[in-house]
């Protein structure tokens, strides 16, 4: 293990180290506020390591090409790839985590116990996420998946109430089932190819195959399907989506924010890398699978969301629907030239639309959860009916939540609008017009339940929960900012809200970065 190897995994290592350090600091420090500060400031470390890796690539994020910093003689060469793709997601994870920490300062302060552990576990889970974005080998992938999930399971059950315990338990059991499926799929793939690396599997797939069978062999077919279903747990996509609303409802809000944004993003990274590295010859096969999953996910998510009365459950179904939208981009696999012929490199269109959408979704969804965090801390309820008239008392949080919900519908000028155009255009280019049409119809349907929440907040009379909340100042010209609201929460909220809008206006650089990042995947040539 050389020094260079350490540099290659320094973002992950420093993240894990920071997690342990925070737990230790919690034992030593008496002022628990400092623990949060250590965690937040410490994130500069993984961030700067990720940035240092980025500077190794010409043109930073805006360049393109498949450079991999891991040399072939390194002990990491089989298990990790340090490329633009991985760094893109590592940066996304670190920034999301920093924002979540910022927003949850006052939340954690109010926790009855385990303040340090909260930060530590979040950091450890983030380590898993960063590993997942870079892993190129089945066992590493498995370790990353578990490392991501298990700390989150612990946090889900953090709160001393029954719905939190229920969330933790369901998360744990369904996670275990998914892990079992993932492992089963991996075992099949290993059995078929004799290799655990994605490159090795790809090599073995080049051999003789059974004509007329998807993926050319039963072992690979079952392996890929089962593994995809396992990953769908992390994507919160059909058919492994049923745990989502329960966990979103019961688990601590900051953890849900991280789960819905960072964990989901790296799961998509894993899926893209897995499919684009290992299974290039069968793009038509898995493209169809993902198209079907996308269609079912968005339809189920949106339909059930309509009937929800709890804002967190509603966002849980919304995240299922969004997993469906994003899967459209994964399914939109097209080769250069005409359609999905068997020759030629793949276009960047589909995968890069996924990356852009994930960034836009992160901004909008974090805004939504931060706003819910702030409002919940005042009115103490997640029921939509209790949000009645919330705008009159808590103007900025309500406005931000409205902005986030409008963004989630996909209304300009927000990042998700651009992202949706991008995704559906990719689908059309890959001859998946029906999927693009279904996506557009689903977006319209989703407006129904998002706007219902906005209407409640702005037009309905003040609910008992809002009236009873402790803020007595009347919002007016003079006091836009009601007193007693978490300043850190508002700061994080403002940042993400600005990003949400900014991504809808200055989307060029992010799209360029996404296109550069996906050229790291095998089979995709620089445009």
């Amino acid at each position: 293990m050389s020094l260079n190897d350490l540099f290659l995994i320094s973002p992950q290592l420093s993240m894990a180290g920071l997690g342990i350090l925070v737990i230790l600091a919690d034992l030593v420090l008496n002022r628990k506020g400092l623990v949060g500060a250590v965690a937040l400031v410490g994130l500069i470390l993984p961030l700067s390591f990720a940035w240092a890796q980025l500077t190794e690539f010409p043109g930073l994020l805006f360049g393109s090409g498949a450079e991999n910093l891991v040399p072939s003689d390194s002990i990491l060469s089989d298990s990790l790839a340090v490329d633009r793709f991985g760094v893109f997601f590592n940066l996304l994870v670190v920034v999301s985590l920093a924002l979540v920490f910022l927003a949850s300062v006052d939340y954690v302060r109010a926790l009855p116990r385990l303040k340090g552990e909260f930060y530590g576990l979040m950091l450890l889970s983030a380590t898993g996420m960063m590993l997942m974005a870079s892993a190129t080998e089945l066992i590493t992938i498995y370790v990353a998946l578990e490392l991501t999930t298990l700390p989150l399971v612990a946090i889900a059950a953090f709160l001393p109430n029954s719905s939190s315990s229920e969330a933790g338990m369901k998360f744990m059991v369904i996670g275990a089932i998914s892990s079992a499926l993932t492992l089963y799929g991996m075992a099949l793939l290993y059995g078929f190819s004799g290799s655990t690396t994605l490159a090795g599997i790809a090599l073995a797939l080049g051999g003789p195959s059974e004509q007329g069978l998807a993926f050319g062999s039963y072992a690979v077919l079952v392996g890929v399907v089962v593994l995809t279903v396992g990953i769908a747990f992390k994507l919160s996509a059909v058919p492994s989506q049923m745990w989502v609303p329960d966990v979103y409802e019961g688990a601590p809000i900051p953890m849900v924010a991280l789960l819905s944004v960072a964990s989901k993003a790296v799961a998509f990274a894993l899926l893209l890398r897995f499919l684009y590295s290992g299974f290039l010859p069968f793009d038509a096969n898995w493209g169809m699978l993902l198209a079907v999953l996308a269609a079912v996910s968005m339809t189920v998510g949106n339909l059930v969301a309509i009937a929800q009365s709890n804002i967190r459950r509603l966002l849980g179904y919304s995240t299922i629907a969004h997993a469906g939208y994003i899967l459209v981009g994964v399914a939109a696999v097209a080769r250069d030239g005409s359609g999905t012929s068997d020759s030629g490199a793949f276009t960047t269109f589909g995968p890069s639309s996924v990356l852009f959408y994930l960034v836009a979704y992160a901004a909008a969804n974090l805004t939504a959860f931060f706003a819910i965090l702030v409002i919940n801390s005042k009115i103490g309820s997640d029921l939509i009916e209790d949000y009645g008239g919330v705008f009159r008392k808590y103007r900025l949080p309500a406005l931000a939540l409205a902005l986030a919900l409008v963004a989630l519908i996909g209304v300009p000028p927000t990042g998700i609008f651009v992202g949706k155009i991008y995704l559906f255009a990719a689908a059309v280019k890959s001859e998946l017009v029906w999927l693009a049409v279904l996506g557009a119809i689903n977006s319209v349907v989703s407006a129904y339940y998002y706007i219902r929440v906005i209407r409640t907040m702005f037009l309905d009379p003040e609910s008992e929960a809002v009236k009873g909340s402790e803020n007595t100042l009347q919002p007016d010209e003079v006091t836009l900012q009601p007193q007693g609201i978490s300043k850190y929460g508002m700061l994080a909220l403002t940042i993400t809200a600005i990003c949400t809008v900014l991504l809808g206006i200055v989307f060029g650089p992010v799209i360029q970065g996404a296109e550069g990042a996906v050229t790291s995947l095998p089979g995709i040539l620089a445009p």
Partner: protein, 727 residues
């Protein structure tokens, strides 16, 4: 050397001020809302300095061409954002940032004590940034975005006192009427965007403004990329947008109503800058207009017609700001007419001088309102004695507007008249003659309404101000006018308001001759006629040059203007005087304590002695005077109802034609077909959602079963699909 970031900073500084005020000051430090004014003033001062540097450098011949940046690449159509620096831009930058700076300083005094002062300066920042962005745009889409942003901020500012129904209605009217013109502009842009390939064949970008100029020029092989009927239609579409913003007939109806906003807003937006954006737009596409004589004729005639028509309306208005509003419409008509007859330089010169003296006139109106509590000239009079500075400055601005040598307005108006007089080959000869006739008649009316306004406001005896107007309104059972205040402080406005007016006054005197000296080779080191020559260099193609000074025209126009002044004097100064009686109503005299501070100083029951609050001497208050023009009978009625244009639009077009036929039809379509479909879709979704939600039982075992079942289903699907392939 000016670098690109420095030029962008001119636009970004006010924008930054907007962001800081809305995101930091308003939510968190509203107690220190006053800071927002100083913040904007600081930003504008730097912007002005940078604008002056840019002007100096550009005039010195520096190459200031910056490559545009690509914003969106749609294949055939590449939308870019960038800077277009030409003489028109650099002059406009100075005008916008300079006038805006002075008006913000004035606003510090005028808006003091208003609870929405931070909001006011936020909107003002947004407006100024949008206006600067508009002027700098190199791409039509970029320009259009700022064009609409200017419209939005104007809407916000007109409706600034949104609790007044009249202000809200005026804001809405302004927004809708200008939008009608914008449709034409948008159609022109869409036409350009859809003809990308034809432009690309010549290596041109259909949305890049210099490329559009180029496309309209004849090719060596004959024809042009843009030519014939299409060119005329595009030019007319652009002119429709310009006519909406610049209040040209028939889209002028919004501008007088827009005076519901705070007076500094009227000065900045509805006199000096935004309304000039229409003129700027036509000037920006001048090389395109030049190639189509039909469009030029339309521009010239509509401009001339508006110049005269708006002036007739200005004759009979009682509201001092409405007089000025019609005067603005009329002066914009002069500029449009000048552009229409190919007088590019004179049009922009008039835009330049007009910005100063008209802003000054509006600030004067604000100052007068500060003292008298009303904008109704019937309740003013005699203010000359109480506010000598305001009087002197308004007189200067008025003389400048009328076009009396050697004030600024004379030189620019004279250039326009001379261009029409000497004629040319841009349009048919009869158009030149018609335009000259319309404009010279306009000069007579301008002189008349300007001096009617000055005499009614400042001469004679004081007629009671806002307090009296409120009493009268009560007596006759009319609703209380919302913009009238019963506070009457007969005294000069605070220094912070007078100072910017004085600066504008100096500009209103000097901006004509000193900024653009005529007759001589150079004047005080300023090269003769530099402004016209410099501005004309903005048009890279052949076009008529600014004509030399013409004694005949100067004598005619001066004589006509003097005739108008004398007429006004005869009618108002002397005829009115005989009927004056004196009535004792106590009024506070002297400096108001703090501008805008609410303090009832005129008590209706205090008629028996000096005001108990201040103990000043009561002054005689003259009764109402009959309006001499009212003897015009039906003509007066026609004018005071603004040719029944509002009734025509509201009653006939909107209510009858639009509501009853078109809207009724769409309403039916919407209610029966669309709503039916939506209800159907809604109930399907809701019930479908309920059905699917039934599956969410909360049982973990069930969740796990779904996962496994899903995997199995997928596999079965694959096998069936493979079987289909194989067999």
């Amino acid at each position: 050397m000016v670098t690109e970031p420095l030029v962008w900073a001119i636009f970004f500084l006010p924008l930054l001020s907007f962001l800081l005020i809305t995101l930091v000051i308003r939510p968190f430090f509203n107690r220190y809302a006053v800071v927002s004014g100083y913040l904007l003033i600081l930003a504008l001062a730097v912007s002005l300095a940078l604008s002056l540097v840019v002007l100096r450098q550009h005039y010195g011949g520096a190459e200031l061409d910056f490559e545009p940046h690509t914003w969106l690449n749609l294949g055939d159509v590449v939308i870019q954002m960038g800077l277009l620096l030409d003489p028109v831009t650099s002059i406009m930058l100075v005008v916008v940032s300079g006038v805006s700076l002075l008006i913000q300083i004035y606003s510090l005094g005028y808006m003091r004590g208003d609870p929405g002062v931070a909001r006011y300066f936020a909107y003002m920042s947004l407006f100024t940034a949008a206006m600067l962005g508009l002027v700098l745009s190199v791409n039509v889409v970029q320009l259009y975005a700022f064009w609409e942003l200017v419209g939005v901020s104007s809407y916000l500012l007109i409706g600034f006192w949104h609790d007044r129904p009249s202000a809200a209605a005026a804001a809405k009217k302004a927004f809708i009427v200008t939008r009608i013109g914008d449709v034409g502009f948008l159609l022109a842009i869409i036409y350009l965007a859809f003809h990308g390939p034809e432009f690309a064949a010549q290596g041109l970008n259909p949305l890049h403004i210099p490329d559009i100029w180029q496309a309209a020029q004849p090719l060596a092989t004959g024809g042009a990329v843009l030519g014939g009927g299409a060119l005329t239609l595009i030019a007319l579409g652009i002119f429709a947008g310009a006519a909406g913003k610049s209040g040209q007939f028939p889209l002028h109806t919004w501008l007088p109503d827009a005076m519901e906003g705070p007076t500094p807003v009227s000065a900045l937006i509805h006199a000096a800058t935004m309304v000039a954006a229409g003129v700027f737009l036509v000037a920006r596409f001048f090389p395109l207009f030049q190639q189509t004589q039909e469009a030029m004729t339309v521009v010239a005639l509509i401009g001339g017609f508006t110049a005269l028509g708006a002036a007739t309306l200005g004759l009979v208005m009682d509201d001092i700001k409405r007089v000025m509003a019609y005067s603005t419409v009329s002066q914009l008509g002069y500029m449009m007419a000048a552009l229409g007859i190919g007088a590019f330089g004179p049009a922009l010169f008039h835009l330049f001088t007009h910005a100063f003296f008209k802003a000054l006139l509006f600030l004067g109106a604000g100052s007068v309102n500060h003292a008298s509590g009303t904008f109704n000239m019937r309740y003013m009079g005699g203010l000359r004695k109480h506010m000598p500075w305001t009087y002197a400055l308004v007189l200067i601005a008025g003389l400048s507007l009328v076009g009396i040598i050697p004030l600024a307005g004379f030189w620019s108006k004279d250039e326009i008249l001379t261009s029409a007089w000497v004629s040319g080959s841009t349009v048919d000869p009869w158009v030149y003659q018609a335009v000259f006739g319309l404009l010279i008649a306009g000069v007579l009316l301008t002189a008349f309404y300007t001096f009617r306004m000055i005499i009614l406001t400042f001469h004679g005896d004081f007629r009671g101000g806002g307090a009296r107007e409120l009493e009268d309104a009560e007596e006759s059972g009319l609703p209380r006018p919302s913009s009238v205040s019963e506070e009457v402080h007969l005294g000069e406005s605070p220094r912070v308001m007078v100072l910017p007016m004085a600066v504008l006054g100096v500009a209103a005197i000097l901006a004509g001759y000193v900024a653009n000296p005529q007759w001589v080779k150079s004047f005080l080191l300023i090269p003769g006629h530099w402004f016209s020559y410099y501005v004309e260099a903005a048009v890279p193609f052949d076009h008529p040059k600014t004509p030399a000074f013409n004694w005949e025209v100067a004598l005619i126009s001066t004589a006509v203007a003097l005739a108008g002044i004398v007429l006004a004097y005869l009618l108002y100064q002397f005829m009115g005087r005989k009927r004056t009686q004196t009535l004792e109503v106590p009024v506070e005299i002297g400096e108001p304590e703090g501008a805008g501070v609410a303090e009832p100083t005129l008590a209706a029951e205090g008629a028996d002695g000096p005001s108990p609050l201040h103990g000043h001497e009561p002054v005689p208050v003259a009764p109402q005077r009959p309006e001499p023009l009212e003897r015009g009978g039906p003509i007066y009625a026609l004018l005071s109802r603004k040719y029944f244009m509002d009734e025509l639009y509201e009653g006939l077009l909107v209510r009858r034609v639009f509501y009853r036929s078109f809207a009724a039809l769409t309403d039916w379509f919407d209610r029966t077909l669309v709503d039916g479909l939506v209800d159907l879709a809604g109930s399907v979704c809701r019930n479908g959602g309920r059905v699917v939600a039934q599956l969410q039982t909360g049982q973990v075992q069930f969740y796990g079963a779904v996962i496994v079942l899903g995997a199995v289903l997928i596999l079965v699907g694959y096998l069936a699909y493979s079987a289909g392939l194989g067999g």
